[in-house]
Amino acid sequence: MSATLTEAKPQNAEKKAKQVPQTTEQLKLVIVGHVDHGKSTFIGRLFYDTHSLPEGKYDQLVESCRRRGVPFEFANLMDSLQAERDQNITIDTAQIWFNTAHRQYVIIDAPGHKEFLKNMITGAASAHAALLLIDANEGVQEQSRRHGYMLHLLGIKQIIVLVNKMDLKGYDEKVFRDIEKEYRAFLKQFGLEPRTFIPISAREGDNVAALSPRMPWYQGRAVFESIDDFEPAKRSDDLPLRFPLQDIYRFDHRRILAGRIVSGTIKVGDKLIFAPGHKMSVIKSIERWSPAVAGPKEAKAGESVGITLTEQIFVERGQVAFHESDPLIRKRQFRARLFWMGRLPLRLKKKYKIKLTTQEVECEIKSIDKIIDASTLGEVAEKRDYLLKNDVAELTIQTRYPLVFDNIDRIVETGRFVIVDDREVSGGGIISGEEYPAKQKTHVSDNISWSKAEITYNDRAVRNRHTGAVIWLTGLSGAGKSAIAHELEKELFGLGMQCYNLDGDNLRFGLNSDLGFSPEDRSENIRRAAEVARLLADAGQIVITSFISPYRADRTRVREIMKENDVRFFEVFVSCPIQICEERDPKGLYKKVRAGEITEFTGISAPYEAPETPEVTVHTDKQSLLEGVAQVLESILPEIQVKAEGAESFEI
């Protein structure tokens, strides 16, 4: 805490001017507590004492109460303002602004209608700090505890507890100390340590704007000064790097990986690894648009930035970049603590979507291990294998593909997730106690069997999350077709996709063993290969072929076969000058041609008709293997991926 923040501030009670804060920094506060413990009264008091009311409004309300013969209550202040719907002031029960001399505050209040929990969570989760009110007269109640626990789950660490209505207990120190002791012990069970406890009377204004002479035994500070100690969003520059990718852009010559750094820092030249694929590349530049300024050399937690890489490897939304020394946990099964607010109960074996940073993976609940009573922290007596709205539970989750994450006590943003049920965000969870990988990364393959799907083409596509397709690589011998095909297959397989590398030589050993190398036989070879590829694609596979296929007419026929059968077809031209192909000569064929052992060799003694409008062209003389593969994937994946719609159409 800096010294300037803790210095006493002059009280402004005598000045009637609106506070003009030193900075326009904004701190978001949420106010929680058991019903009738004084939330509204406290907010009214806060507003009055910071002179945030419109001119003359207070006097007007007091006067109107006097005329109606009812006592003025601060609790009614906000209601009356709202009820008047005064178009000239900026007040709402959802968000209320007020200023201290130090800065601006926003109070996020949760309107008390039927969807209370969703609103409270929406409000509280975006708060920097919380004030929790406890009635001195009633003491710690069920919701006092429940709200404290929810704040913990939501990750709110800055909390001040206000013991309110001290006037009703004769400003008795013992009452305050007993409540402090009891509630402190409760919060301690889940490791929550409040900043301080303050005895107040919101109605009388004791210890709110200024210290009250009625509680001389209280040695701490008043509410206003104490809240000025809260810190706005703290960004974790010094934690390990976590950079979840939001998108890949190619608006101009740059290929920019965009995202928000959730923790740590990046610098130009850093070696990054992208989880869960574990591909590696180096940061070439950091991009942040500004008309006049060049890109920065480094970026920190909290920043929405873009980076370019020295080598254009395949990466996609959802991957998380990290530094080699600090990997994330990578798993398909883990335990979590979850609160549920879905319209429908949370059930075992049903398909849900989990969203963790920008990762989205299908999941199911393997087991509900313990349903927690949020007000006692004990286990609820009733044994259930489903969760109802407002339940909190420990459970085991299994995902369809590996998820990467952190334990919440290490890095908050990558340690929590939401569950989507039928297009609605319906629950939130936090992860702790999972084990980090040892230095050497391990790709655990826990065999989880997913049920057989229906067998229509669409069902396959829905289950596979992609349609079938044929990726037809064409190019000279030595251009790099086989290497690209091999790497593509590995990438697609790693993405959990159905894929098959249809090898020309294998075809010639079996199905095509009757064919020779005459032009007619070559054509027939290509035709049969196309038919096999088509069948496999119909079965849901992404088929990769690598035939020289030098004749445009042959390739056009392949394209037509695919079109007739509604198979997605991608012609990929693997382009490379023949001189370079000859230098590479991976199979020693060019040598044989030069020695006269082979005649009719494509590119030398037979023509190669380059494609005119291929879907993708890869230049293997200028691009690395991984760059070429990335380019193919980037063009093709958006075309064949099937959105998670219809996830409910298949069961385990």
Binding site: K18, Q87, T90, A94, T122, F251, M341, E413, G428
Partner: protein, 279 residues
């Protein structure tokens, strides 16, 4: 008193707002195939446009929809067309031709102010959205503008009739938004929701964003909020520069939309308009 020095604290605060808005814009761009941004030509949606250029590294990869009531202050249209050219923007203009042709508008004395907003702006918007089939619409509303907007979410679903269910909204936390939507519905995206009017001006100052000069005081009057000429009135103000506006806003207790006459037709005029799909 305070000079508008670009102190570090202030820069950090604005940078924080900017980072969040950029994140939201990128989420929207990733999640909605048919995405558009509403551009009213006012300061907020122009800041939003600037943020889009930040998010997409100098590009604006979706069309800007301007609902033209034909009653806008004339300099607004000149300013619009200038930026479209300079910033290389795709502009889609929506007009409720039928109502304009029939002449059933407030300035013609054949509709109330609220009815006029309802047809020219709300229905005008609805027509463009339907014609273009947008599933995501980015709008520059802020929570501090007026009470109804305070209840908004960053990603706010609208049903087939553009209606907004205020009392049952999706939860929104940990930067996870409602991005899955039913066919035929659309999502309003509000990247500026957490900004205040003051923040908007501080940011305009910091980034040197060109805003229309109707906002600056001439002869003791300036516009604080821009709309159609017949229903928008300037306020008393001597603030003729961005820093002067910032100073003025720090001290004011009247609301931003106080010069917008349609809000005052009845107590809940604005709330009703918004529930039915007004921006």
């Amino acid at each position: 008193m305070t000079a508008i020095a670009k102190t570090e604290a202030k820069a950090d605060h604005l940078t924080e707002l900017e980072n969040q808005s950029v994140y939201i814009l990128r989420e929207a761009f990733n999640k909605f195939e048919k995405l558009a941004m509403l551009w009213s030509i006012g300061k907020d949606s122009t800041v939003l446009l600037w943020l889009a250029r930040k998010a997409f590294f100098g590009h604006v990869p979706f069309p800007l929809v301007h609902v033209d009531t034909t009653y806008k202050l004339p300099t607004m249209i000149e300013y619009r067309d200038r930026l479209v050219k300079e910033w290389n923007l795709q502009l889609v203009v929506g007009k409720n031709e039928a109502v304009l042709k029939a002449g059933d508008t407030y300035p013609n004395g054949r509709a109330t102010r609220v009815e006029c907003c309802g047809t020219l702006k709300k229905d005008g918007l609805k027509q463009v959205l339907e014609a273009k089939g947008y599933t995501g619409v980015i709008v520059g509303v802020r929570r501090d503008e007026e009470p109804t907007r305070a209840k908004e979410r960053y990603f706010s679903p609208r049903d087939k009739n553009m209606e907004w269910n205020v009392t049952d909204q999706p939860p929104e936390f940990w930067d996870q938004f409602k991005t899955d939507y039913d066919p035929g519905t659309h999502i309003r995206v509000h990247p500026l929701l957490h900004w205040t009017e003051l923040n908007v001006w501080e940011y305009i100052h910091r980034e040197n964003i060109p805003v229309i000069d109707l906002y600056f005081s001439k002869n003791g009057k300036r516009y604080r909020s821009l709309g159609c000429a017949p229903c928008t009135f300037p306020i008393d103000s001597t603030a003729a520069t961005v820093p002067e506006i910032i100073e003025e806003l720090k001290r004011t207790r009247t609301s931003e939309r106080s010069g917008r006459a349609q809000d005052k037709e009845s107590e809940d005029a604005f709330e009703k308009l918004r529930r039915d799909g007004y921006m």
